[in-house]
């Protein structure tokens, strides 16, 4: 089969799997698990074949016009270059791992068929975004991912956190998607087509008339989808969804879609240096803020969520300095180790019955209960902290190296300021990343206190996947950095000495300082017992997680942080801790800026409708009623009155007739 056919099958197979799952989920429950795993696995295989065939050579382009639109044409197009091929393999790989993991995680869940179908649908949409060569087709995949995220985050809709979080995720990403859409239309108007190749050609020939405006509009959508400041507030709350969903959507794929989009269309952004500065500032603020916030979170998944935001900030920072190879390299390695982190966190939550680090730090010997999770999570955390030789080191170094290159060597189209901003923020974030990774590891696995209860072995499906994902977390970076430039733009991705030393040193400093703080504070743990544990720890992991999520606020008063004096994060952040825990009060700011005015406007509209408009409506009814009451007063019941009126009328008529007859 031709590569194009295979490429078409890659998004198509999971879509068919989703459709079949939705249709047959209830009638043939035995088929649900195969229908979940096999199409995704097949898509992975085909994506691998396509990648091999494409091999970093010329991009595979193919298009067909479905129907004429009358103005700018919309075509079903494929554009598979090195970026697309490799990202598709990542997506297929992580999706397969997540589907297999979910069979164990949601073993007893009654809504598993729809869940699996939605995950398959999501996978298909992401693959469509990756392979698409037409911007509108990309937008279709973009939006389908958004709605799947809504459904999947709201999987535990019995908990109010999940309901609120799914709505928030949807609305905030939509808020970014509206300017995104306008930007796409503007872009296509200038280029005359939605085809990516045509657009890039227009940019190259200088045909883009409003590059800054278009770039900023597109950046709004990217900020929403990839959870960058200021539209990042949905991602920590989206941790109310099941852990496999967090692994797939909020670590490896959907949030990476924004980064991937910018990488695809980087020349459009590079055409406006103002947009690049904005992107750099956005990346810097995101990186630093999320790092600080991650240090204050109590929910293990929220730590990972803020970590994702920060790592995405790295990727957008790499894009801000014009190096998309570095950005996509970090995307690939981050996809692997972040997915691993989330899946391992899921195992930990299941085993401990809680998602609270404060509670876990008061359980002894948790790591003996989940040895697979312990070792794989250690690997992933080392990758996250960018310690050589793990994959994160190489990919993060490529980003920092690109920033340094942009800062010190003045390239024509990349402002040096962007480079400096990214470099400094990147180093600071490396420090913070190592700090919160160490904190997580210490609190989760080195707790002291009551022996952690033994709820049996974790399902094989879950543990096996952890090991599968550990391999690229360990090895991808070292093997890839030499090969990837051939797939990408050819820019060298080797770590440079300066940034490597700086980055690693900063990370080690962060880790050691955190360890010291932990030693300081861990003694306080025994003096202040804390914790909320799931009510049904023998249930499947999904049930345990749902209960853990639902119990966090009642136990600690807040969904994000816990009043734990033994938390090294409190010591490290000092007075900032209170602000960092709430994500620097951004939710409250948005509430005051947007939510309250909208609610006030809604109540104003309701008032107008009820008091003003309804008055007319009721007045229209009151008038006939009054008239009727007036007419009813003629019903005296007195016969003589009636007959008098009758005869009076007759006399009048007679006289009238006579006058007419005689006069006429």
């Amino acid at each position: 089969m031709t590569t194009t056919t295979l490429a078409v099958l890659v998004p198509l197979l999971p879509f068919l799997g989703a459709a079949a799952g939705l249709l047959l989920g209830r009638t043939a429950p035995g088929f649900v698990r195969p229908l979940a795993v096999l199409p995704t696995l097949a898509a992975l295989a085909l994506a691998a074949i396509v990648a091999v065939r494409q091999g970093g050579h010329a991009a595979i382009d193919s298009a067909t016009e479905l129907t004429p639109t009358g103005s700018v044409p919309v075509e079903l197009a494929l554009h598979i270059d090195g970026f697309a091929a490799l990202v598709a393999v990542l997506v297929g790989f992580v999706a397969t791992c997540v589907q297999i993991y979910s069979t164990g995680y949601l073993r007893d869940d009654p809504r598993y068929p729809s869940y699996a179908a939605l995950v398959s649908l999501f996978t298909s949409a992401m693959l469509l975004v990756v392979y698409s060569g037409d911007l509108i087709v990309l937008l279709v995949g973009w939006e389908v991912m958004g709605i799947c995220s809504y459904f999947l985050v709201g999987h535990y809709w019995e908990t109010p956190e999940a309901r609120a979080a799914s709505m928030k995720a949807f609305l905030v990403t939509k808020l970014g998607d509206v300017p995104f859409l306008i930007g796409l239309f503007a872009l296509a108007t200038d280029a005359g087509s939605f085809r990516i190749t045509t657009v890039l050609g227009t940019v190259a020939s200088g045909g883009l008339h409003h590059p800054t405006l278009i770039a900023l509009l597109l950046l709004a959508g990217v900020a929403g989808k990839s959870a960058q400041f200021p539209l990042h507030t949905w991602l920590p709350d989206a941790m109310a969804g099941p852990t496999p969903v967090s692994a797939l959507i909020h670590a490896a794929t959907m949030v990476a879609a924004g980064v991937y989009f910018v990488a695809r269309l980087l020349p459009v952004f590079e055409a406006s240096s103002a947009a690049m500065i904005v992107l750099a500032v956005m990346a810097a603020v995101t990186m630093a803020g999320s790092g600080l916030a991650a240090l204050a979170q109590d929910d293990i998944k929220r730590v990972l969520a803020y970590s994702t935001i920060g790592q995405l900030g790295y990727m957008t920072g790499a894009l801000a300095v014009g190096d998309r190879g570095a950005a996509v390299f970090h995307l690939l390695s981050h996809g692997a180790f972040k997915a691993l982190l989330f899946l391992a966190a899921g195992v930990i939550i299941h085993a401990s019955g809680t998602n609270s680090l404060a509670a876990m730090s008061r359980m002894g010997n948790l790591r003996a209960r989940v040895p697979d999770a312990f070792w794989t999570m250690t690997v992933a955390l080392l990758a996250l902290a960018a310690i050589p030789p793990f994959s994160g080191f190489f990919s993060k170094e490529s980003v920092l190296g690109a920033a340094e290159h942009a800062a010190t060597e003045h390239t024509s189209h990349i402002p040096g300021a962007a480079g400096w901003i990214v470099l400094v923020a990147g180093l600071l974030t490396a420090l913070l990343t190592a700090a919160y990774a160490t904190r997580l590891w210490l609190l989760a696995f080195h707790g002291k206190g009551v022996e952690a209860p033994d709820h049996g072995r974790q399902p094989v499906a879950m543990n096996a996947v952890l090991w599968v994902l550990a391999v690229p977390s360990l090895a991808l970076g070292g093997l890839a950095y030499r090969v990837l430039p051939d797939w990408f733009d050819g820019r060298d991705l080797t770590p440079t000495l300066t940034t490597s030393v700086l980055g690693t040193g900063v990370a080690l400093v962060g880790g050691i300082v955190t360890y010291g703080a932990w030693r300081q504070t861990t003694a306080l743990a025994t003096r202040a017992p804390l914790g909320a544990v799931a009510a049904h720890p023998e249930g499947d992991a999904g049930l345990v997680e749902a209960e853990a999520i639902a119990s966090h606020t009642p136990a600690y008063g807040d969904v994000a942080s816990a009043p734990d004096p033994a938390d090294p994060g409190r010591l490290l952040l000092g007075p900032l801790h209170r602000h960092a825990a709430t994500g620097f009060h951004l939710d409250a700011v948005y509430g005051a800026l947007f939510v309250r005015p909208v609610l006030a406007a809604a109540s104003l509209v309701r008032f107008l409708d009820r008091e003003v408009v309804d008055t007319y409506v009721q007045g229209a009814g009151t008038l006939p009623r009054l008239l009727g009451a007036a007419v009813r007063r003629a019903q005296t019941g007195n016969l003589q009155t009636y007959v008098s009126a009758l005869l009076a009328g007759t006399v009048v008529l007679t006289v009238a007739v006579l006058l007419v007859a005689t006069g006429a």
Binding site: N638, Q640, S644, L647, A648, V651, V655, L658
Partner: protein
């Protein structure tokens, strides 16, 4: 001959045309006088406050009309008028007044509050009708000479030759009226057994028309007792002729 005939015709015509408007003949004067009496009696009937007097003045009015019929040479009808209207209808009315306890003497509320509207309507109607009639029949005379057009022989012949079917239908109507009046005015057994509950205590407190209630308690059978027991005209009570 034709000339004589036309002369006679012209003379008759001339004689007819020399009659002026309202040039009264004797019949007309008599008609006018009797008409005044009739009209006056009718006015009193509808305005008097004494109910029984109203009935009696009605007799005068009806009698006046009978005389008018005679003047119009409709003898049979005049006597039928006297027989039926004066004879039975008025008697029925008087019985009705008695049985409904109409007050003897003046009753101040014989006229309802509607009377001004009624007066207006009646005057307007009168004006309209009289004007129309006068305008229409300004030049019409009836010839009353010659044989009576309403003699018994003529009327009888006409009735039983041309109007047989309506005549028979009328007798059926009278039968229906007879039966209906009997049914309506009869007190059924169930009706007569229920009153003890609510009529005793109420009767003392509700003389809604102050003049029409002088009943005594305990003799609800009195009404029907009065009916069949009046030996004079039980038939008049229960039916119409």
């Amino acid at each position: 001959m034709t000339l004589a005939a036309t002369a006679t015709a012209t003379a008759t015509l001339a004689a007819t045309h020399t009659r002026g408007f309202l040039s009264p003949t004797g019949v007309e004067i008599a008609f006018l006088l009797v008409g005044l009496v009739t009209f006056g009696a009718a006015l009193v009937t509808v305005t008097t406050k004494q109910l029984v007097h109203a009935a009696l003045w009605l007799v005068v009015a009806l009698g006046g009309i009978a005389v008018e019929y005679l003047l119009l040479t409709a003898e049979f009808i005049a006597w039928v008028q006297v027989l039926i209207y004066v004879g039975s209808v008025v008697v029925l009315l008087l019985f009705g007044l008695m049985l409904t306890k109409a007050p003897i003497g003046r009753s101040p509320d014989a006229d309802s509050g509607n009377r001004w509207a009624a007066l207006t309507v009646a005057v307007a109607a009168a004006a309209a009708l009289v004007w129309v009639v006068v305008d229409a029949f300004r030049a019409t005379w009836t010839d009353l000479d010659g044989p009576a057009s309403g003699s018994t022989a003529v009327t009888g012949a006409s009735l039983f030759q041309n109007w047989v079917l309506p005549f028979e239908a009328l007798s059926v109507l009278l039968l229906a009226a007879l039966v209906g009046a009997i049914v309506l005015s009869r007190k059924s057994k169930a009706e007569s057994s229920s009153p003890p509950v609510n009529s005793r205590p109420a009767t003392g407190s509700s003389p809604s028309v102050p003049d029409s209630r002088n009943h005594t308690i305990g003799r609800k059978g009195a009404v029907e007792g009065n009916g069949p027991s009046s030996p004079d005209n039980p038939a008049e009570k229960e039916g119409a002729r």
